[in-house]
Symmetry: C2
Subunit: 216 residues, 2 copies
Amino acid sequence: MLELAILGLLQETPMHGYELRKELATKLGTIRAAISYGTLYPTLKRLQTAGWITESASDPTMIPPMTSKRGRVVYKITADGKERFADLLAQAGPETYDDAGFGVHFAFFSRTDRATRLRILEGRRRRVEERREGLRDVLSRAAGRLDAYTLELQRHGLDAAEREVRWLEELITNERSGRAPAGSAGEIDIPVAEPPQERAAEDASPEPPRPHKDRP
Amino acid sequence: MLELAILGLLQETPMHGYELRKELATKLGTIRAAISYGTLYPTLKRLQTAGWITESASDPTMIPPMTSKRGRVVYKITADGKERFADLLAQAGPETYDDAGFGVHFAFFSRTDRATRLRILEGRRRRVEERREGLRDVLSRAAGRLDAYTLELQRHGLDAAEREVRWLEELITNERSGRAPAGSAGEIDIPVAEPPQERAAEDASPEPPRPHKDRP
DNA sequence: TCCCGATGTATCGGCCCGATACATCGCAAC
DNA sequence: GTTGCGATGTATCGGGCCGATACATCGGGA
């Protein structure tokens, strides 16, 4: 899963490890707080060995607001890496539907075609529904066997599952009907001009969504 | 974390691996769907080596509705194991406040003294609050840099974090004020007589709570 | 000047997972 | 009556990811 995330970020711009970790943290803030270096560096090595990314020492010319010129290593995605990224994005296995896997895939939905988005959304929904049913069963059938705290934990979990199913339902509806705006409450609707000119119409990058957000 | 859960379940009654896995799944259904055997058996071996549990071949006399008489191995907690369990329950490190750690601790709150419960609840609240603040920052400051899907993911995460903080707040309030009933909606209030007579007043086992459950 | 915090790269032991391989039992279909 | 399948049951292996740790450089404030 981390492989997909790294490839996705490096597709936007080359980076060194430290930067990558930060971007990962903000992009996947909901999924995992911050990726460990004990994970990041071995993974980078692995990707390099596989030929998906290349390593290049930082030359004098340094665009970002970075300092120093020591042993910084900048990673860059290769053509094979882009292919690999596209493959990983499109193919959805069982691990695509657990919390972490779904989160990473979702974070790159703007680079995913609509059919795949729907497939993943529906797979995730099924997964969460199963979990929800399991919790309902426990709460109705096994309630007497469990102490009050354990029951409260299940209730909270059930609530979260129900909520996520509703969220997914809306996202699916929006995907099917071409998309829907209704930004968060009375907030702005992205009036600023987006700077991106990195990737134009390379592969599959449809339109942005905008589910909803009830309650002010 | 798994160590704590196993010790906790074996404290109630001896079990074999398969059973343990099932109980784990229902008790911690919110946290992890089902523990892998690739985790369970090595962990059991580890606990055995440490002396917290002992292994005993299943004799002819088999109380549960189980069948067969093959190589089933029943695990039983030792006196040292009970001590270890009490230690793990009381001491709260940083890993106590992440999703998995908190869930396991919470599931055994009925065996935890009130001071520790409050400490853990407050530690978890702080943790989730930090996460919430991080997400708010991203959503206000870095909104323009992120695509619509990533933003939606953050919004959903923020919503979940806010909700959990409110939940924790209520639990904390209830703990402080001696406890509060108000069971889930119009449901029963445990009219059946509880069967437990395993552990009487051994260590710290206060009263049960009963937070709330708004909206139906 | 001296040290401290941010930046930056890297390894190690350990937990946990999914895949896989076996073996036994009860039962239903053929 | 046997064949085969699904539930029960124990166990290992490779690999991903984590936290702790170590080390090095740089800018700036005490």
